[in-house]
């Protein structure tokens, strides 16, 4: 906790020093103290934005992670399905997320699920690809050993392929944490009234510079929360990382 807090405090100090030392126009960069004061004055408002966006991003992230890993396992088990479905996955990723936004809002309305769906869309693919790569990297002799013990496909999957792919899966999840946040924010741009994305848009249109910077800090807090959760899970599950 302390190791994460220290660099952030240092960054804030640098920020403040630059603003004061270089006499920067607050239009370009307001003082951190002013931003912090604004956030404190409207703490309920900012906390609401934090929680709303966190819920959207976390839900999309969880769905993306689960679907990503599950589809990679399915593809490994049934290569025919992989040959049919993976190209569709790839094509889906060539469509920019912005293009989907309007349709998703049309389908789901202005709901939590609409934003989560966009976050999901951005996250499942890197997880699928990395899980597949992790499984492909497993030593064939290791698979042979398990088969010599009479292991079927299911046992090889559970006891070897999935755990061996965990380091790669977590690499993808860390990347996906920030993608999920981006997805949730973009989702909010299609007419949401709550959340970090909505706050960012409002601040931009009204040229409320302090509020804009406050929104950025809240966005960073959401991203940091997701990232920390992934890092904690990784530390617990991939303690053996140095090998393989």
């Amino acid at each position: 906790m302390l190791r994460a807090a220290l660099p952030i405090l240092l960054l804030f100090a640098l920020w403040e020093a630059a603003v004061v030392g270089l006499a920067i126009d607050p239009f370009y960069l307001p003082s951190i103290r002013v931003v912090a004061a604004a956030m404190q004055a409207q703490s309920g408002f900012y906390l609401d934005a934090y929680l709303v966006t966190l819920a959207e991003a976390a839900l999309g992230f969880a769905m993306g992670g689960l679907v990503g890993v599950a589809s990679a396992l399915l593809f490994t088990r049934l290569p025919m399905v992989k040959d049919m479905v993976l190209p569709i996955f790839i094509v889906s990723q060539t469509v920019p997320v912005i293009a989907f936004g309007a349709i998703v809002v049309l389908w789901f309305g202005n709901t939590l699920m609409a934003k989560a769906a966009i976050a999901f869309y951005l996250t499942f693919f890197p997880v699928t690809i990395n899980t597949l790569a992790g499984i492909a990297a497993v030593d064939a002799r290791q698979v042979a050993l398990l088969r010599s013990f009479g292991a079927g496909q299911g046992a090889v999957m559970r006891k070897l392929l999935l755990p061996a792919a965990l380091p790669r899966i977590f690499t993808a999840l860390r990347l996906s944490a920030s993608l999920a946040l981006a997805g949730a924010i973009v989702g909010e741009w299609f007419g949401a009234t709550r959340g970090v994305g909505a706050m960012l848009l409002a601040a931009m249109f009204n040229e409320q510079i302090v509020s804009l910077w406050a929104s950025i800090l809240v966005a960073a807090a959401v991203g940091g929360t997701l990232f920390a959760a992934v890092a904690l899970a990784e530390r617990a599950m991939v303690f053996w990382r140095e090998e393989l």
Binding site: G150, K159, W240
Partner: protein, 256 residues
């Protein structure tokens, strides 16, 4: 006539254009300790892969286990050339892997593994992870895993190949001890002639690629065996005989 545990006849293997193994014929009696020696690349591991059911012999070859043909997967206890321990499992859980795959009752196999860990010199290390172990210990865990998979026929592919000489000779005596206690049939691949003679009831020498059986030598040295045996005249006589055969084949595999 004594029963045969394993009967190999006319077993060969091509990998594309490479003839890895020629026709191999070999019968092994129950409880026998057979060491297999031969130049690198002569097809020893390939033969093991076929005995473990991981690879099909080319047409014409048959492998009978307990006199019966049929699927071999899961019927022999196979220990590959590398320890292949799973880094996310501790010592005990690595050794329990084959039992888990078999679906044996957990509490029972765990108790058995805890007892066996003492025999394998792993007491106090049950909760350690492979990364925390020395090479010799890792090898003992891999061996214990092979013993936990209770099959009469064990295939050990250079289990001590990566160990230093001192650890190695300790492990050899220890393995004989374990073998005497658990009474399994063992085929043991090695590159070390001393090791081959010291352990075996029979030493089988293979030719350079494509592998065939060049020499099948019964070793009638008394058991239990200890380190002094290595300098006994009977031992050196056998060693000279085997060295001649092995060197001839090694030279062939170099000039080929």
């Amino acid at each position: 006539m004594t029963a045969t545990k394993l009967s190999i006849s006319g077993v060969g293997k091509n990998f594309g254009a490479v003839r890895a193994l020629d026709r191999v014929d070999l019968d092994i009696a129950p409880g026998e300790f057979v060491t297999l020696i031969g130049p690198s690349g002569c097809g020893k591991s390939t033969l093991f892969n076929m005995l473990a059911g991981l690879l099909e012999p080319d047409a014409g070859g048959t492998i009978l286990l307990d006199g019966k043909p049929g699927k071999l997967l899961g019927r022999t206890a196979f220990m590959p050339q590398r320890d292949l321990l799973l880094p996310w499992r501790n010592v005990l859980d690595n050794a329990l892997l084959p039992c888990e795959i078999e679906g044996l009752p957990r509490a029972e196999t765990r108790a058995r593994a805890e007892k066996m860990a003492v025999d394998f010199g792993l007491r106090g290390f049950e909760k350690h992870f492979p990364q925390q172990l020395s090479g010799g210990m890792r090898q003992r865990v891999a061996l214990m895993r092979t013993f936990m998979f209770e099959r009469d026929l064990m295939l050990l592919d250079e289990p001590f190949g990566a160990l230093d000489a001192l650890t190695r000779s300790m492990m050899q005596r220890w393995l004989l001890d374990i073998w005497a206690r658990y009474r399994r049939t063992i085929i043991f691949i090695t590159h070390d002639i001393d090791e081959a003679i010291f352990l075996a009831d029979r030493v089988v020498v293979m030719s350079a690629r494509p592998g065939r059986i060049k020499l099948d030598r019964r070793i009638e040295l008394p058991r239990p065996r200890d380190a002094h045996l290595l300098t006994a005249p009977e031992f050196t006589a056998i060693k000279r005989e085997l060295l001649d055969a092995v060197e001839e084949e090694s030279l062939k595999s170099f000039s080929a």
